[in-house]
Homo-oligomer: 434 residues x 4
């Protein structure tokens, strides 16, 4: 760092449509933003296939990562007024906020499922491995990269600091709710972040919220609830996800079968072979994926080519609601009918289930156990949020699951071939819904 205090000679400012300005005063942060691993996030959309439903949602993980950093910077600014902060801990915290998503690949959700990858593991490898990011973190001390990685992995000693980045109300979620609402144009994600930051009070293990700010926190939980079902789990977005996953699945299958691709899909070969190097991983971005999808539209394999043109031209599958108990009864017949009319049901008849737990109090011993949000009451005691808020209580711990059955309706309504079978399929599917 050029100055002993690690500050820039002149503050850098980014114009941001959500937080108005993003302020960078630390040379460390400025340099991290400039690394190629961080710049790569410009080529990975924040909301995957959501732009096919909400055309405004074309923003990238770069955009969001700067936002999380800024929320954290303001959060620390508020907490510093209430308690002492070690300057190094402050930088650990800011760097973790900035880098928490750096391991994400293109369309992570589908990729991870098909290729058994884990973006959190990649985040760790990027921070600790041979990268520009690692070089810069090392300038702060030998153990600095590990500290940042541990915060993101939630294994860091300072639990308060961990909670600022990963908890039920953290810098990450606050930024993405506001940002995704802004870019999609929906009004659901709005809440009063400024007020929430002002009522935060540091405790040993986590930040708590002054009781007087309960309604702002309540509003945040409701925003989260609304955004999940209105935006994140929108059935059209999931249709695009289904197709995307099936493309990857098909490519993997063809690779296994030594299918002769017209263009050698080098970026996929390594993934298929299981041993992806850091260098290879960092080459993956949405441009690469879309390049292949465009090329594959002209492949011989009819499934790969059909699915790719569907994704590129937004010719998505339609869906019906699907009750898993009923569905079993018709599943064998449906699958058989699909085969009869020449559609492989593995690719063209797909159940997708989404479920969300908008807020949870502590259920020890369970997987994904969550630290609850606590309010600081006027008498100085802590009280778990759902005990104070009727509306949060109403949705606490209630997992809601939604099942949908996706299929290419366009192929079924063209009744020049197999009219009877297609009518039967449509009738079975429509009955599902009622």
């Amino acid at each position: 760092m050029r100055r002993p205090d690690g500050k820039l000679d002149e503050e850098k400012v980014f114009k941001d449509p959500v937080h108005r300005y993003i302020h960078v005063r630390d040379e460390l942060i400025w340099k991290l933003i400039g690394t190629k691993e961080f710049q790569r996030l410009r080529r990975i959309r924040q909301l995957g296939t959501t732009f096919l439903t909400f055309h405004g949602a074309e923003h990238t993980r770069f955009n969001h990562s700067l936002g999380v950093y800024e929320v954290m910077r303001r959060m620390i600014g508020n907490l510093e007024k209430k308690s002492e902060w070690d300057p190094e801990e402050r930088l650990v915290c800011l760097a973790s906020a900035l880098l928490h998503d750096v391991g994400h690949g293109p369309f992570s959700h589908s990729f991870e499922k098909v290729f058994h990858m884990d973006h959190e593991k990649w985040t760790r490898r990027i921070i600790l491995g041979n990268t520009e990011i690692n070089d810069i973190l090392l300038q702060m001390g030998d153990d600095f990269p590990a500290k940042v990685a541990n915060v993101i992995a939630k294994t860091y000693d300072n639990k308060l600091l961990v909670s600022l980045i990963s908890s039920q109300i953290d810098a990450d979620r606050m930024d993405y709710l506001l940002r995704d609402a802004f870019y999609t144009g929906v009004s659901y994600g709005q809440f009063d972040m400024e007020r929430i930051l002002r009522v935060m009070r540091p405790q040993e293990d986590q930040a708590v919220f002054k009781h007087s700010g309960m309604h702002a926190v309540e509003d945040y939980i409701m925003s989260r609830y609304q955004m999940y079902w209105q935006v994140y789990f929108h059935p059209v977005t999931r249709s695009a996800e289904v197709i995307l996953s099936k493309i990857l699945h098909r490519a993997k299958e063809l690779l296994a079968d030594n299918y002769a691709f017209k263009i050698n899909p080098v970026h996929f070969t390594t993934m298929f072979e299981g041993e992806v190097t850091l260098k290879d991983y960092l080459k993956l971005d949405e441009s690469i994926i879309l390049y292949y999808f465009q090329a594959w539209e002209e492949e011989e394999d009819p499934i790969l080519s059909d699915l790719c043109q569907r994704f590129m031209n937004r010719r998505l599958f339609k869906y019906v609601e699907c009750d898993p108990s009923k569905q079993m009864l018709i599943w064998p017949e449906l699958q058989q009918l699909f085969k009869t009319i020449g559609l492989n049901p593995e690719y063209y008849l797909v159940i997708d289930s989404s479920s969300d737990l908008p807020y949870d109090f502590y259920r020890p011993g369970e997987k994904d156990e969550r630290v609850p949000i606590h309010l600081l009451m006027p008498n100085g005691e802590l009280s778990e949020l759902s005990r104070q808020s009727d509306v949060v209580e109403a949705i606490s711990g209630k997992k809601r699951t939604d099942h949908k059955l996706y299929f290419p309706k366009d192929l079924l309504t063209d009744q020049t071939t197999f009219p009877e079978e297609k009518r039967r399929i449509l009738s079975l599917l429509m009955n599902q819904e009622g």
Copy 2:
């Protein structure tokens, strides 16, 4: 069309962060949006390299095209209250608004310069050629595609209609000013579109504006002026443009030299050979370009590889203001010095000039002559805007040009080699600015 009136059974709605909702009632429009040529616009950013300056500006031409359509729909809605509209003319107008940018390729500005292409010509070919768009337009009548193409080319008979899409205050500009301001987060692009639409009055050749709405129009002109210099001509954006153009230039040169690329750049070969087919052109999008740029980072050619990693990792050129009259004096020496230190000045020492004419009254006989904006005065007469508005008068007809000299400062400050020459270069460049 399924219904005789061409209306959809149920109106379709897109959530849009700028106009809140985009409403589609006509089956024609709905089908055009679904074509693959139109969906391709999702892979072409509206503002080219601007996202490297304003990280929020990641929106695409798809996003903007829907916006222009919606502005036009509202504009017609207002004008229909004032005069009779032929239903077919209405659809010609809406389709033209939606499709006006459909011929754009990736980073059009640079591509057109280097490969001598013209997006307006491609728009015409897409509308009139063998495309899904053409198929759908033909359903409205044999001459319908030509009508739409003529509106966009400004050769259509109905001049009023042409002016709604291309004039100094049209649906295109109104949408992009609002939209680009929204996504960049700057406050400059705001103006009261609703008011402008309400004071529009149709005349034979163009729409004019009731005098009582002059200040809203004035505000629009000022927004335009501010956006050009604050956003569109931002020097950092231009730096990225300079690098992009030089990459394309280098690739073209290497192709001419039969350089052996590691990956055969098929998408470029056709362009280089001059005869691009419609099918080839439609394959070009930003994913393809970025795929090559990533691949080229590993090419042997040091210039191509350096420029590509600069673009991908945002390691842009720095700039100094440049006075063309002074600059000539030092140009030979500078170029010589660049060669001495091993940097090809053709690629590493670049002058970029931007100029804008924010508003102009009629200057007949000149290139790019513009139809002025007219106000409808209380006495029923028309008066040209700059005669009524001091501030518009102040900027009318005044072309402002800005010259900047771009160069890789990072390579000059590393003084392990040629320290003297590099110091001399830096000194010459810095003197430029004073």
Copy 3:
């Protein structure tokens, strides 16, 4: 009306910060706005004493009434696309929306309590009595005023129309939630009105909402819930209300005692005597009330003068939470102590209770029974909102009540007199809160 269709020659437009523009096309509406009874609403604040808590909330009932009219106009515009509307019914509906609050007096809540008045009765008298409003309504037909009065009284035949103005989701509530949120500056009152209006479907007795818009309706209910507790029942606002009521109470008592006021309070005398004429009532506005309050600051009566200076200079009572069951135990002692130190407990020790029922399904036979909100399900059936929405279910039918005890803390902390008693009082009060 000048034109046979009752339309204005040129549409009139009001700039409105909440709905952007308010459009008036009907001469009837334009003339009603111009009446002196409607203009009087400019002198009555929408939120009574709330401006003493949220300084932004200085808007009047005039402001809100225009807003309700505009929401109704847009609502009808949407409904007209779905079903036929009788033009006269349309005007009945618009006039009712505009005039629904016209009987409100200054600080209605307190006035009605102390002087046993009823603004709904006054609305009826203004519409049916000898007023400019009545004259203008009569121009539409002899029974027109009665129709409007009946809609507002909810006794009109057309129940659908009544429900648009008075139901759990009506034009009145939609405007005030948005408007009060705008002027106070809180973020809670936001919801997507445009979407709600678009999913409204007329039924015989009321409007229902397409299931696909459920989340927008849910969001509206939550806004309502948040606004009640964050804004409308804010304890500081209620403190000002308490003082205001006590001033009126004191004035009434002094009038009964034939107290010799320095200035004869003619505007109050009639109210006191019980028989208020329409002409007298229309003279009451906030200026008149504040004029007296200022004058009364200099009255001999120490209670009246103290309370008035408290109200004018915002020297409000403080409060403690108050548990009615506990409170009874200390009440006799507290009252006695107040008397000892020379404070009349009737005026200086006041319990205020607020309670709200944010949403209710139908509970026949109960007072204030409410028509529930119904969703129109995809299968064409209706379903009550709380059956579909977890969060609405959580707050449905749950009346929440909050009790607070208000007192002049400033007089108790000055311990130059009765130090022991005052300490005892403060100790009793603080224990309340426990």
Copy 4:
């Protein structure tokens, strides 16, 4: 002050719709807000009669004064990063910002004209006289009230500090442009205040602005220009002003004539007699004025009663543009005609002229000479704004004046009496305009 550092134990926060939150950390400021002289500003609207044109503009000087304080607080926060600030100077500055308008009376503009009062003199008297404000200021030191008064009077030694409150770009103007735009609902007043504050740099005599922020400053000047002509000088607002002034004028005349008012106008008597005490002045607020206006609607004097009902019921005068040179020719005839038909031209035929100088560079020796805005250029030199900005140059130093002739058109169109004279009057007036 309770704490030696003068800080509150807990920061106080006001929710503000314009600046989101207003933060008070200094006990001095908190106590000043609580004084009765400051609370009185809640009863004086910020924009006088503008609410009769823009119904949203019902906000008071209390509202604005808090805003100016908040802008100043942020301004100082930014400047403190650039230079040392004496803590006392900081408080002088904040107190001056808060109190700069405290001497305003109701509808100041008209009052000052008719009764020869000067709100700046009253501000001084309130700060230095026997008031709660003076008591609190004295707690900071004997000379503290004088310091604050001198800053407001622009006679304070520290010219930088004076310029923050009164210059062509100061905390007062920045707040009112944003605030008045917010409440009226117009879009013209928007500019990027955050950016302007960030590019401010303290100099000895005034704050200057970094050149890189020029466009934000330019945008501010344009906002100012637009707000003046779109809002502040709106002809309907001026019509209400004209009537208001004429009411005051008539009352004064009647007082001089010993007219027997039904209610003794005590609040006016002192003003009329010339010697207004501070105590009397502080009693004047809009409630008092409107109380009298309502009472005077029933006075015998036909002019007073007519004008009062016009103001209360918004039955304003209409206007024609008026060219002073032409107007002289018809003036004698017009006046005579008015007398003939029984209308006193002194009250019913009124010319109102408004003029504005949106920005000015230095013109030494002239009245109202203004300190120009300076930019800090990259080379460290200062440059006057209009030399750098074409648009500011265009409007610099150009005084624009607008003359309108107001008259009661309603009385002239009723042609049951004097039909010929009235037709002649209308014809003369309409010809004016052409």
